[in-house]
């Protein structure tokens, strides 16, 4: 949420985040190539670079994919989510380096276009051991390119968050393609028990965490079956069970609604942040505004509008508190969005 356009709104936290990421990557590559020179003295520099970039990108992709569910399971991981898009773009460049070096090394010396050579160089689709694994990596790289190219808030604002999210969910397809790429490629050749085990562990972490987080999230996704009161409002529970300045999330009229407590009052607004659809119900009230836990977008309690000069707004819902219980009108108020 920036007042005037800047390509990247740098702040101390983003700089720290990116510096730590780049330092980690540099250390990994140096260690990989350094140790590799001794452990595999016969591997060429190109081979070590291709492998270093590929393993680094894959490891980073695992980290990126685990951040989402980890944040849903434990709020202490939220700082990792803050700048996850930069991690994603960095990971794309590592993967691109791996792909580019591999194509130059293995496909550039023939008389066929290197990209065509990747696609037609191996056609034994009926074999597992000789399956053409390189096109799988190329397909994953194309998806990662699309995601990196549209990662900026410019695209988020123009595509709208739901479309952008849908596009970026393709990362799971890219991940599955990469599992195929590695399993049918590297694992068929020089993989050791350790490298095979590490890949299995990574898959268990990614899919396991997502499934656990998904199961946990399915509870608040169940529509409330509490009776409507005489005014058509839905009883969403006791005010006392909501912590001060925090929210309880319920599903009303097909979408999640965050019901915040502010002193003796309750306020309800859509749980979906306008930025990247982050969960507002996991945020807090700061300075009279609901503050998104992901990147800090703010929305006023009374009308869901971001404080000026910002123009975002989320739908809000009428609430009443009667006998200590909170009732919410499932019909949203007209939007407070400003031009």
């Amino acid at each position: 949420m920036s007042e005037h356009y800047v390509a990247v709104g740098w702040n101390r936290q983003k700089k720290l985040y990116d510096s730590a990421t780049l330092a980690g990557i540099a250390l990994y590559l140096a260690a990989f190539i350094g140790v590799g020179t001794f452990v595999q003295p016969f591997a060429t520099a190109e081979t070590l670079i291709i492998r270093g970039l590929g393993t680094c990108a894959l490891a980073l992709l695992h980290v990126i994919l685990c951040i989402g569910p980890l944040c849903r399971l434990d709020r202490r991981f939220l700082p990792l989510l803050y700048n996850r898009r930069h991690l994603g773009v960095t990971m794309f460049f590592l993967a691109f380096g791996h792909g580019a070096f591999a194509i130059i090394q293995f496909h550039a010396l023939g008389d066929v276009n290197p990209l065509v050579s990747v696609l037609v160089g191996e056609t034994r689709f009926g074999s597992i051991t000789n399956f053409p694994f390189q096109p799988l990596g190329l397909a994953a790289l194309v998806i990662l390119l699309l995601m990196a190219a549209t990662s900026h808030d410019f695209w988020l604002a123009n595509l709208t968050a739901p479309v952008w999210k849908r596009l970026h969910m393709a990362v799971y397809v890219a991940y599955a393609l990469l599992i195929g790429h590695v399993s049918l490629g590297f694992l068929q050749g020089e993989a050791t028990t350790v490298t095979t085990g590490l890949l299995a562990l990574g898959m268990v972490a990614v899919f396991g965490l997502h499934i656990i987080a998904g199961l946990r999230e399915s509870v608040p996704d169940r529509p409330l079956d509490r009776p409507l009161n005489d005014t058509g409002f839905v009883d969403v529970g006791a005010l006392a069970e909501i912590r001060e300045s925090c929210a309880k999330t319920v599903t009303l009229a097909g979408e999640r609604v965050a019901v915040f407590r502010h002193g003796d009052q309750a306020f309800a607004m859509s749980n979906v942040c306008q930025h990247q659809n982050g969960p507002l119900g996991e945020g807090r009230i700061i300075d009279g505004c609901v503050t998104c836990p992901w990147h800090g977008y703010q929305y006023r309690l009374e009308d869901g509008a971001s404080p000026p000069p910002f123009t975002e707004a989320v739908p809000t819902f009428e609430t009443t508190v009667r006998d200590g219980r909170v009732f919410v009108n499932p019909k949203p108020r007209p939007s407070a969005r400003r031009a």
Partner: protein, 158 residues
């Protein structure tokens, strides 16, 4: 995330997970074992030479991790090339050479002895036109067009 997307996410992840684990399991199950070439003469197939005896002859390559020995069997001379681990090049060929290679190229007059196979020890017979001692054993990678390792064949009984 909006609810419809979250529900799609909840279905897509297990499906992709099952597919990924399926591919991974199939790939691991059908992974080929590294090919092993054993070129021991039939007489030695059940009674391989004691490697420590063979290696005591002491010829060594100029890269670590590959031992070289010689033995005689049935009047034929044999070389035993025994890598401690996979040299990391799948295409190594062993040559006898009358002179030490000067650079990456094979010298003139080399004689092909046979191929290495990963970390497996191989025994290669020395052709009769190769002198009993002297010369060099050169391991060469045709893919990289480079000499990978060289060992001098010292006179036996030194």
């Amino acid at each position: 995330m909006i609810r419809s997307l979250r529900l799609a996410h909840r279905v897509a992840l297990p499906v992709l997970g099952v597919a990924s684990f399926g591919i991974f399991a199939a790939a691991v199950a059908t992974r080929p074992q590294p090919p092993i070439t054993t070129q021991y003469p039939a007489a030695l197939a059940s009674d391989r030479p004691n490697r420590s005896e063979v290696l005591a002859l002491g010829d060594t390559f100029d890269v670590p991790g590959i031992s070289l020995g010689r033995f005689e069997e049935n009047g034929k001379k044999w070389l035993l090339i025994a890598p401690n681990r996979d040299p990391g090049r799948p295409d190594l060929l062993a040559y006898w050479s009358p002179m030490k290679p000067a650079g990456k190229e094979l010298p003139a007059g080399v004689i092909l002895l046979g191929a290495l196979s990963g970390a497996a020890s191989v025994s290669l017979s020395l052709p009769t036109n190769v002198p009993a001692s002297g010369g060099f054993v050169v391991l060469y990678s045709p893919a990289d067009r480079t000499v990978f390792a060289t060992a001098q064949l010292l006179p036996t009984g030194r």
